[in-house]
Point group: C2
Chain length 414, copies 2
């Protein structure tokens, strides 16, 4: 089965899918069990062997960020050589001790890899407000640096928390000037409503491009992927995207060329599908919704978010309940009071509201609608007053399983 | 047991609690079963017999409102004599037909009671996007007008949807100038995040006061009660408060007098307790939270809402999980990115975060915290940067039962 499994992401014709754990030339990675989590891999290291590697980064916009985000922001974000990550504890809210632990992770990784500490990005995920055991994580860093290999399998597992499994992809991308390799590993299933970045996504390519070009591509593609998803409307303290390009493949990608366009298309599809995997793996999720809103430029984003984050819309999606009244209510909540709010609404292409009024569906129409909302992916199209704006948000349903999972005390989760 | 059962509402010393179904002098009410709901009472009428009755009203601020809100807004809101209400269908999204049905409810009620149609407020609650059967509801209006009596029992039941039971209160209020009677009936358990009004609350008093004074008291008290609660963060299309004062008791309440103050205190306590009953009866609710936020004037409200509406905070409340990291994360989400966000946090009076960092609670402290978050009412106090602002929001937890209830298809709910 193709990695590009959602009907909402088109598989670029110029990509070849590889074993998902493959890395581009000149990258090495490892993941080890260091006892941060009760079981499983929990410390990972990724490194590019090329001194000329360039990079790009995006972080959460939450005012409350973790120590790893603080430390990473001070790093040389356009020249990262390595990433050190852990799961099991997000290292948020632990004051100076937490800051020192994040700095120590960065320093130990740099020392063992022989790179500048400012060339190491740090990312931690898990429970907030707990101490990240420094000796354990540093021992894990040492073990991982001793096990570096050409695959991303263990590394991609070491960053998971409540994920059902690894989220990763490896592609060969045929550019006009030659073939480059593009790979990524992501994690995330709860506390997901990123702005500019998801929980974690690490991207590697052996293409040769300058830092500004990489940053432009990452910025555009992140806005169209991780910035467009919501599991529970909750912006994390720790969202991080690191992208590294090391040029080891020898194919140069110059700005404003067909090469750049082709690489951008592949990166766009890759990140969109990874973002959808995060939504589909949303804690307890059964069904994924996509809400598309067209109308006034200022109106579409808050309306799309209000629909995607409404627990009433999400429970209806979960129950395959064609309760479109809740969509109208959520949309109206995000619109200025007193303004005329006359909308059209279609679900899976079936018009259900026209000019603000529910249409008479009849027996056959209702049966068709009931069938449509029972699919794995359900599309909602809303047209609101005004022109020029269009946006989309992909969202999880809300299930008893989400509640049960997030109500259980003492599991060490965020 | 006293109606004032929450520790967050002080029972005024100058009130006497009466049978909760009592009405003030000069008011009559009825509730009947008209077949709008599969079973139970679903059409109610309330009327003041005094021609000089004054009134005040508040409605939802959702841009998408129901036909009953539209029709009521065009009524004489400072001189209402009667209210007609139904449950089982909110009459939202049914276009001209829905508007005509709401108008017909108003006209039929006015005709049967011998009052001006502009003196009748209309309120409907239930599923959105369905037809309110006109002949049934008008037959119900006629039946209710034929059964008007001195009690509010059947009336208060006729407005319920997913409520566990009636929400109502009747008080004698000892003012310096004499005793007045103050009563109210409310409904609401889901789609609850009112701004300026709850789903429904109807207030009656036989005090003699002018419309401006009544409106002032209602405005202040609604802001401190229904405006401060959230079950699921969802602003309804139909929230309505009607308050009627008919002077039948002969006690005049002049503006800016001790009488006005004493009546205001009683109304304030009454509406706050009713608002808390709505939260406590939130669909599937086990525990009620109160978040108090102190800090910069502009910051406190969005932070309080972000905490109250976070599904992660709500599931932790449900599971008695002392996961305060989620409170920091939700608060940070509502604060401008990049601003210093150093907070203090106390739960049930126990300091857990100081100057942004988690405190070492130790075994005994953690045990105390675990016990505290298992109480029926849990208080969260958050101090954020800045001065001069303070607000509170009362909120329900989020349970599997809420999800199950709102995922079930075909129950005719909103």
């Amino acid at each position: 089965m193709s990695f590009f499994s959602s009907r909402w992401v088109e598989r670029p014709v110029h990509v070849t899918e590889l074993d998902t754990a493959v890395l581009p030339r000149g990258f090495r990675a490892a993941g080890v069990a260091a006892g941060i989590k009760p079981q499983g891999l929990d410390v990972g290291v990724l490194v590019s062997e090329e001194p000329g590697t360039v990079s790009s980064a995006r972080f959460t916009t939450n005012a409350r960020v973790g120590a790893p985000v603080t430390v990473s922001r001070q790093a040389r974000l356009d020249g990262l050589r390595a990433v050190v990550a852990n799961s099991g504890c997000s290292n948020v809210g632990d004051g100076r001790r937490g800051y020192e632990t994040a700095t120590a992770m960065q320093a130990r990784t740099a020392e063992l890899l022989g790179v500048d500490p400012a060339a190491v990005g740090v990312a931690s995920t898990g429970a907030i407000g707990r101490e990240l055991p420094r000796e354990r994580v540093l021992a894990g860093v040492a073990a991982a640096c001793g096990e570096l290999g050409e695959g991303a399998g263990a590394f991609s597992e070491s960053i998971l928390t409540s994920d059902a499994g690894p989220k990763r992809c490896a592609l060969d991308v045929a550019l006009p000037s030659g073939t480059v390799r593009l790979c990524a590993q992501a994690k995330g299933a709860g506390m997901i409503s990123p702005r500019f970045a998801t929980m974690f996504c690490f991207v590697e390519t052996d293409a040769m491009l300058d830092a500004a070009t990489l940053d432009l591509l990452v910025g555009v593609c992140v806005k169209r992927s991780f910035d467009r998803i919501s599991v529970d409307g909750q912006l994390s303290t720790s969202d991080t995207v690191f992208a590294l390009a090391n040029g080891a493949g020898g194919v140069a990608v110059e700005p404003e060329t067909p090469d750049e366009l082709a690489l951008g298309e592949a990166l766009d599809a890759l990140l969109r599908q990874l973002a959808l995997e995060i939504v589909r793996d949303g804690e307890g999720t059964r069904r994924v919704g996509r809400v598309v809103v067209r109308g006034a430029v200022d109106a579409v984003e808050p309306i799309a978010r209000a629909v995607a984050d409404s627990p009433l819309v999400k429970t209806a999606l979960h129950g395959a309940d064609p309760n479109f009244g809740r969509i109208l209510q959520a949309a109206g909540q995000a619109y200025p009071e007193g303004e005329p709010f006359v909308v059209d609404l279609a679900i899976e292409g079936l018009p259900v509201v026209s000019a603000g009024d529910a249409l008479e569906l009849g027996q056959a129409g209702l049966a068709e609608l009931e069938k449509a909302v029972g699919r794995e992916e359900v599309e909602i199209e809303l047209t609101v007053p005004g022109e020029g704006g269009e946006t989309e948000v992909f969202f999880s349903d809300l299930s008893e399983a989400y509640v049960a999972f997030n109500s259980e005390y003492g599991k060490g989760r965020g």
